[in-house]
């Protein structure tokens, strides 16, 4: 298991453009050691590009990404500091899974015995001598994960590691990542599987259109909404949206308000002369939150506890 370390991943004003199109726009956030951070966003929101810039696979047009205070390319032993899985099919189909890992072990100075250890860890021992081109999607994911874990790195950066995994594989992945974080490691995982992130992540970073739309503790974000019941729902919704809140209608007389502390919701209702029949904290599912964050105009949201 990875020894405890202190390798925060810090993203500062990261920007990437392809022609006139800005795919990552002044993005800043921190991934803390000892926690699992989920990286969420719709397709094309810039998640993979951000991860590639973290790992110096893509050049940033502005800003920087550091891991333990250094850029990836400046790390003394990058592949043994950061385990990354960026392309799930980054292997030659005519090469065995074991040889794929032996090549990486040789390049990074990892002892050869570690190849067999990590194959066992991801449950690929029996298929190790088969050509990777014959692997199922789940087995390919396991091979990618094995490559990331090969150097026993304190930092893991994984792009959609759960894709194609069966329930047992997902559970193994979750346990492995939780153990990594519990040992002081830094774990940054992008995923479309919101249920999985809900079970796995301590923190989330959410981007949309290349911009940060939410970040913070998942538990606090899930609590950071207020349920309002009033006969003047439309009027109050307009008032609150004008003040920067994210407002969702829940029936003719109910609103769910996010990005605004519950006290401020009450104060603004009072100022607007709107009578409230109910004002209470409301927990939301990650899916509900995700849709709220990614279907409304992007406004940076830190956790605003109710």
């Amino acid at each position: 298991m990875t020894p405890p370390t202190d390798h925060p991943v810090i993203i500062e004003h990261l920007t990437k453009r392809y022609g006139d199109h800005t795919v990552v726009d002044d993005l800043s956030f921190t991934v803390e050691p000892g926690r699992v951070t989920g990286f969420l966003g719709p397709n094309g929101s810039g998640k993979s590009t951000t991860m590639k810039m973290m790992l110096d696979l893509a050049k940033a047009h502005g800003g920087r990404a550091t891991i333990g205070g250094q850029r990836y390319r400046d790390l003394a032993d990058p592949a043994r500091t950061v385990g990354a899985m960026i392309e799930s099919d980054a292997f030659h189909p005519g090469r065995s899974g074991r040889n794929h890992l032996r090549i990486l072990a040789e390049a990074t100075g990892v002892p050869r015995r570690r190849v067999d250890e990590v194959l066992a860890e991801v449950g690929l021992t029996d298929a190790a001598r088969r050509n990777a081109g014959g692997y199922s999607l789940g087995m390919r994911q396991r091979l990618g994960l094995a490559a990331a874990l090969l150097g026993e790195p304190p930092v893991l950066i994984l792009d959609e590691p759960g894709n194609g995994l069966d329930p047992e594989g997902i559970r193994t992945l979750r346990d492995r990542l939780r153990a990594q974080a519990a040992a002081g490691g830094t774990v940054f995982v992008s995923s479309h599987l919101l249920d999985e992130v809900e079970h796995l992540a301590d923190d989330v970073v959410v981007i949309n259109g290349g911009r940060l739309v939410a970040q913070g503790s998942l538990a606090e974000l899930q609590q950071a909404a207020s349920l309002v019941r009033t006969a003047d729902a439309d009027q109050l919704a307009a008032e609150l949206e004008q003040a920067g809140a994210s407002v969702e209608m829940h029936g003719p007389d109910s609103l769910v308000v996010r990005s605004m502390p519950i006290d401020e919701v009450g104060d603004r209702a009072f100022t607007a002369g709107v009578a409230l029949h109910e004002l209470s904290p409301r927990a939301g599912s990650l899916e509900e939150l995700f849709l709220s964050w990614t279907t409304t105009p992007s406004v940076d949201r830190e956790v605003t506890p109710s």
Binding site: K52, R73, A84, H92, G94, N99, I103, L104, G109
Partner: protein, 248 residues
Amino acid sequence: MNIIRLVRSELRKLTSTKMPLAFLAVLAVMAGINAFAVIAGTDFDGSKAFIATEADQQSLMAFAANALAIAGLFGAIATAREYGHHTVVPTFLAEPRRHRAVLAQFGAIGVGGGVLGLVGAGLTAVAVAVALPATDFGFLVSTGNLTRVLAASMLAGAAGAILGAGIGMLVRNVGGAVTGVVLALLIAPPLVVQLASGTASWMPSVLANVVSGVGNDIDPTAAVAAIAVWAIVPAAAGLIAVQRRDVD
């Protein structure tokens, strides 16, 4: 990061798929064709004059021009498939200072090309030697000249592989890279010579023959240097492109 480790890793890449076997099979077929030519071939007058002297036999065995082209394809496929299969991603994660990773690739692919060139020339020499007893002529090539043929083919193989690797890095697509090598080594040179006849001595196949000792268009040392330039120019272009581009 130890560059020797990177080269070893790249060598394992080359030897852990069936691609080298395919190239060795091509070399064996070419050697077989040579043996058949020795046994069954004749000159226009029906004689076997094309194997009558040491110079004739050395010319038949001179494999360097073939080595240049075959190893060029080997190098192009070896690097272009890295992009097609995305294996360049773990390569640059293991060594984010890309120039080092690329130099290691050139080193390993150059070794691979050199081995292909040596094996190709060796198989051809063996095939000719085995076929000659079926004719009225013996094996006439001296050890020194045979050594030169083998060394020239190894050198041409290494240079061709590096040339191909550079083109593969530029094009990043196996089909395109193979086309690029064919254009650079086989199609463009005769066209260039037609436009500028003074350049004929500096074309790859002519240089390969000079190094093999079966041509005397220019000084052999200059020919070795010119072959190196043919390899270095696309390799440098590939290196610059890799440094500048994002990894897709």
